[in-house]
């Protein structure tokens, strides 16, 4: 791939897959069905770069974040942290925790209501080896990094005394305390007031630029992905359906799902009467066979219903998992290196 950038790969995922067994409603005796929550996802998180994952609820984007943070174990696939493969089934080490941190969606829920803010910041420091004396100073530094000044004003507060925006900054500070190289942010702004969202996005941007963090930004808001990210991945039903470097994916979407997503964004220049009618995304509308989007796709063809498309290269650093582009070369770049399905677990001892 020509445009991998000079930046170094901090965390790579290769063919990451996670299945869940769910009980099918209405069946009395454990008729279980396997849901492919994350299905063969590969990505590269590079220092000083934001990668955005865009998807609706049920697309598997949050599961992906938890797989990358290794608080969920993948069914198959591997993770490579700065060139070192990580055994999938191995226990998550403290070192990994300090390298890869995850910020959760709900700022109110992610702080224990019975503890003051300093507990949330000092605990990670203590776990990762800071002494009692230095950790308070380090906690203050962390608060300054997320522009909460003066830090003393926040340390002894309880979560319910702070606003959502402040709490989300503290969440980020908690993640930053342990000096991670990779920051995973799972919908960090979706529960915040509109007027403070950009502040948090700009904070992430600044951390990425100034401290060369590799950031994964997970969102359902494609406009914010466009605003923030160097790379955008669109997920549908656990799979990467479109990927591009830069904003190509938003400016000239190729996959019918991405097109639908973009057409749905509220936009004064886009009259409501043009609203598409495609039905809802849920477990029952995911196709079991062929392209998983085919039941909702306006441009569906026969082949879509029977065969799953590979990712095609539709532009420079731009792939699309859609049969519409079958005349294009199959992507052999980062996100679609030749399939090794079934061997995914070979690197895991």
């Amino acid at each position: 791939m020509s445009d991998t950038g000079s930046a170094m790969s901090e965390l790579q995922a290769r063919h990451l897959t996670r299945h869940f067994k769910i009980r099918v409603p209405g069946h009395v005796l454990s008729a279980k069905r396997i849901v492919r929550a994350v299905d063969d996802v590969s990505l590269d998180l590079r220092a000083g770069q934001v990668t955005a994952v865009v998807g609706e609820s049920g697309s598997g984007k949050s599961v992906l974040a938890r797989l990358l943070a290794r608080i969920l174990t993948p069914t198959a696939g591997e993770l490579i942290l700065r060139g070192t493969p990580i055994a999938a089934k191995a226990r998550r080490s403290l070192a990994y925790a300090s390298d890869v941190q995850l910020v959760l969606q709900d700022p109110f829920g992610s702080m224990n209501p019975v503890h003051q803010i300093h507990h949330n910041l000092i605990r990670p420091l203590r776990i990762h080896g800071a002494s009692k004396d230095e950790s308070r100073a380090l906690a203050e530094t962390a608060l300054r990094r997320v522009s909460l000044e003066p830090p003393e004003r926040f340390l002894d507060r309880f979560p319910h005394e702070l606003s959502g925006g402040q709490l989300q900054r503290i969440s980020i500070a908690r993640a930053l305390c342990v000096q991670p190289k990779v920051l995973l942010a799972d919908e960090p702004i979706s529960m915040l007031d509109v007027s403070v969202r950009l502040g948090v996005l700009n904070l992430l941007r600044g951390l990425c630029d100034d401290e060369q963090l590799a950031i994964l930004y997970i969102t359902h808001d494609i406009a914010s992905a466009r605003y923030l990210a160097e790379e955008i991945i669109v997920m549908y039903a656990g799979q990467v359906v479109e990927y591009s470097r830069g904003t190509t994916l938003v400016d000239a979407p190729t996959h019918p799902y991405t097109q639908l997503l973009i057409a749905s964004v509220p936009d004064p220049s886009n009259p409501l009467s043009m609203a598409p009618h495609v039905g809802e995304q849920n477990l029952t509308t995911f196709a079991e066979q062929g392209c998983r989007f085919s039941p909702r796709c306006a441009q569906v063809m026969d082949i879509c219903r029977t065969e799953e498309p590979p990712a095609f290269l539709v532009g420079e650093s731009h792939t699309s998992k859609c049969w519409l582009y079958r005349d294009r070369p199959e992507a052999s770049v980062e996100l679609a290196i030749p399939k090794r399905r079934g061997e995914g677990a070979t690197t895991t001892k």
């Binding site: 606003s163 466009r226 009618h277 495609v278």
Partner: protein
Amino acid sequence: MSTDALERRAAADVVAGAASPPSGSGMNERILQINDFCVDYGVDEGAVRAVDGVDLHLDRSKVLGVAGESGSGKSTLVYGFTRLLRAPALITGGTAFFNVGPASEGGPDEFIDLVTANEATLRRVRWTQISVVIQSALNALNPVVRVGSLFNQVFKAHRREMSRADRRTRAIELLELVGLNPDRLQRFPHELSGGQRQRVMIALALALDPQLVIMDEPTTALDVVTQREILGELAELRARFGFAMIFITHDLSLLVELADEIVVMYAGRLVERAGARALYDAPRHPYTLGLLNSFPPMHGERQELTGIPGAPPDLSDLPSGCAFHPRCPYAMERCAAERPPLAKLSEEGRYVACWLHVDEVHATVPVELRRAVPTTSAGEGGAT
């Protein structure tokens, strides 16, 4: 946008405490007129004013958008004048006149003040004339009752003459209207998806052909594609049946598409009111501008946006003067001392509560707040 009637009432709108119902020949177009409406939570020292002196009006078949962040009082306002707020909320002032139609054939429209109405009157108006789509459909639909029974409840309460078969026919008709299969009548709410539940809510809201439908963030919990579909359907339904709508959301860009007129609320007060397009193209209040700039655009160069610094205020400890002044890039000395009233601008149908505009001394108004803001204007922030 504004009608003639609206213009005629304009003077009255800025006068506080207009305690008489709207009158005049053009008034049959007016269906809702709220004046100086105030809601407190609690009394005495513990009291928090959640809605403070709001003036509003709505004409037939129009869509009024109410935009604001959490705590701005947008929901308190609508649940307030419909008298649905729970304790410790108290209405502490104002009137809310609602047009219940002519008392006799051909007569003038009658207005009732919802604020002073008794329970029986309210019950007559509720759902037949004003229906409410509550934010979370999952919580708003009784979990142990089938969708069909909800329709039955409504018809039995208000349309006694309808037979069992009539009720069923009408319920099926309503479901089809919102794109749902009639077999959904047999389902319980938890068996439906989020979008389907919201559609059921909308179908219920339209069941009695109301004059006014209030939508409290009906699509916030939904995925963007579903949201789009439902909004599209709502727009169609409104065009077809001509009900007026009050649409509450924190997503200003969504309102611009949907609403005729938009009011922006901050800390319990209206800070700006304007036609939807006008508000989007040329916001007058710095807060409105900030909100519009908080949504990253889908087109054009990527440029750094700043949003609004600081956090929404705590209602129990509001800043002096204009509540927005600590976050306002254009704040002047006067802003901290005095609270600006919602004043009419010379432009048609525009009101803003900001000292920058109050004397229409345009020289003091920053250029961003006066001129149309093209979505692709080159700002000072560099591309990221």
